[in-house]
Amino acid sequence: MRVRSISLLLAGVILIAWAQSLFAAGNEQQFKLKPGANGKLCLKCHNSFQEKMTRKYVHTPLKNNECTGCHNAHTSAHGKLLTADADKVCATCHQSMVSSKAKSVHKVVAEGGCLKCHDPHSSAYKGNLVKEGKTLCFSCHKPLGDKLAKVKYRHSPVEKDCLICHQPHASDDGPFLLKNDVTKLCVGCHKTDKPIFIKKHMGYPVASARCTGCHDPHGSDNLGLLLKNVHSPVSKRMCNQCHEDANSATPLKTRKEGMTLCRGCHNDMFNKTFDKNRMHWPLVTKEGCLGCHNPHASNDKGLLRKSMAQLCGSCHSDSMKRIKKNVSKHEPVVEGRCTECHDPHSSDNLALTKKASDYDLCTTCHDWGQHSTHPIGDKVRDPRNKNLSLGCASCHNAHGTEYKKMLYYPTTTEMCLQCHEQLKR
């Protein structure tokens, strides 16, 4: 019975192969194609491909002398005589690089930028990669590569290959293309029941905690790959200053709730903050301080959860959107130094600015205020509105505008004529 089945299967395969060869032969006859017209003939002119074909890894269509797998021999509406746009042609065969369940997708994959990593013809590296391993990754992720070249301590997988932790195309299981959720991925190697692990974490049950809240998974100048800035109680290993004791029933529970806990140490800062007229509203929500700060460690100054631009922009997205469109931009805004002008906690001034008058605020950096200028100040009334005095913001938008010099109007003349209407011709 089994022999009969195998015989039938074999016969089927032979039949299909024969039919294919007949079909190909039929095509060649129909179009009067010369032998090897699907690729072998191409190499007669494109002789540089002889060298490419000697490389270790050759793309299957090329290996089979089938250039027409990707190119049209006569004409094409796409570059390089491709049969589809360069960002789509790969997907005609490789359709399943990103599953519908993907939790994260590599941006270049989503954009169809396969050729940023792969050589479409051949390569010395597996997977037709244009460079080897982490060298390839760091050619785009340059800031990370530069940082890792300088840091004292590097995570050992980073030294070897990024693909130990990350998927190259998409991940169904974790963010940032990780092969699993952060914690599950970490504990796959770092056994949490080992005495050294327990000791280093002061006996606290951190097996299910998010490791990247304290550790930089790539590298750091701090021992234990701790993030650049560490909250003082953490660096002193005084976890129980904020959390209940490690041997208590609820060791990870904080000793007090919300900002009351933070106030215990940062009392002066709290007194100053709450003595002002205007609060940054997120501070008085349930998240309190933790809306912006990481209580353990951070790579950003002030234990911020993200870079200042990203953090502020996560709520003030409308401002960020406007800023992106602007032609003229205020330097601190571009560099994400929001706190140059604003107090992130509270202020007595509108928009939580550090000074009440825009003149005082602007002249902390711009010394032109000490020279001759257009009359401005409390005593100079704005002709457009008698309740306003003239200040820097009467003509300039502090974040920038779509016009030069951060002016509200396209030309200086139009700007001036807003007030000097009598000069209009």
Partner: protein, 299 residues
């Protein structure tokens, strides 16, 4: 054949005219403005405005005081100053019954009750409020029974209390919200809240225990909704603080238009912060960065 063509032409002209007609149906006509009080003291960054039957109370935030104007012919008259020692930085005011006013103070972040004569009548003292007992109001609204709807950003809820502060009920904020800046209650008792960060408006029907999405995807028209109001026809008005405009929504939540624009001249806005409707339908706006109160007839 000719008849068919005529029908098609008529149909196309009606279809083409519809958007223009819709845009033209509402007009914001400036009818009045207040720059000063009766003693010629200029307003300074007023953030709050509350409309009652005969008066408009302004929270003159930058001067740490209140100014009560009387209403006459769609404009503001007089402008009597009053100060309240317990409220040094009034951010938001809402009219209650019988000329009384509720005010949110920026410094204490408490809601105070002011009597019709402007005297301090005590803080809104929350009683029997379920956990969390901490209440941090960002705004409030008052219904025709004098019940107060407190936008509690700490408790992530609208807390409904009676005029004395006694707990009546609460409506939790919807999931995945950004930040709510204001609450309004219409004549029917529908409660509206505006999500400033996600440009959404939610509505809870009278007695409902949860909010439903009323209008979403307004990002194209709206930067930062700081205030929400409802007129007698059920239309919803959102004040766009950061882009200085008014966004009008129909009673079904549909976008009806974006009105007014940024500027310093009469009729223009510069970071508006609160609005209210007078009994005859005049829209009063606290034009904060222009240090004035502006009135518009919505036609």
């Amino acid at each position: 054949m000719i008849r068919n063509k005529l029908t098609l032409v008529c149909f196309l002209s009606v279809v083409c005219a519809l958007p223009a007609h819709a845009a033209d149906t509402v007009k914001f006509k400036p009818t009045g403005v207040a720059y000063k009080d009766i003693k010629n003291v200029p307003l300074k960054n007023p953030e709050g405005v509350a409309c009652s039957k005969t008066a408009v109370v302004v929270a003159d935030t930058g001067n740490g005081r209140f100014v009560r104007y009387s209403l006459a012919n769609d404009n503001l008259k007089d402008g009597i100053e009053f100060k309240v020692a317990e409220v040094t930085y009034p951010l938001r005011v809402k009219a209650a019954q019988n000329g009384r006013v509720l005010v949110l103070d920026g410094k204490t972040r408490k809601i105070s009750r002011l009597a019709a004569d402007g005297s301090f009548a005590g803080y809104l003292d929350y009683q029997n409020v379920p956990a969390p007992t901490t209440v941090t109001p960002r705004s409030m609204a008052v219904d025709d029974k004098d019940n107060v709807y407190v936008l509690d950003v700490y408790g992530e809820r609208i807390l409904v209390v009676d005029s004395a502060g006694k707990y009546l009920r609460q409506i939790p904020f919807p999931k995945d919200y950004g930040f709510f800046s204001d609450v309004a209650v219409d004549q029917r008792g529908d409660v509206f809240i505006a999500d400033s960060l996600k440009a959404n408006v939610y509505k809870a029907a009278p007695g409902a225990e949860a909010f439903q999405l009323f209008a979403s995807g307004l990002q194209s028209y709206l930067s930062f909704a700081v205030a929400v109001d409802v007129d007698s026809q059920g239309r919803v008005y959102l004040l766009d603080q950061n882009d200085s405009a008014v966004i009008l929504l129909g009673p079904d939540g549909s976008f009806q238009g974006r009105y007014l624009s940024f500027g310093w001249k009469g009729g223009q806005l510069n970071h508006p912060t609160q609005s209210c409707f007078t009994d005859n339908g005049t829209l009063v706006i606290a034009d904060r960065n222009n240090s004035r109160i502006q009135l518009y007839k919505v036609q």
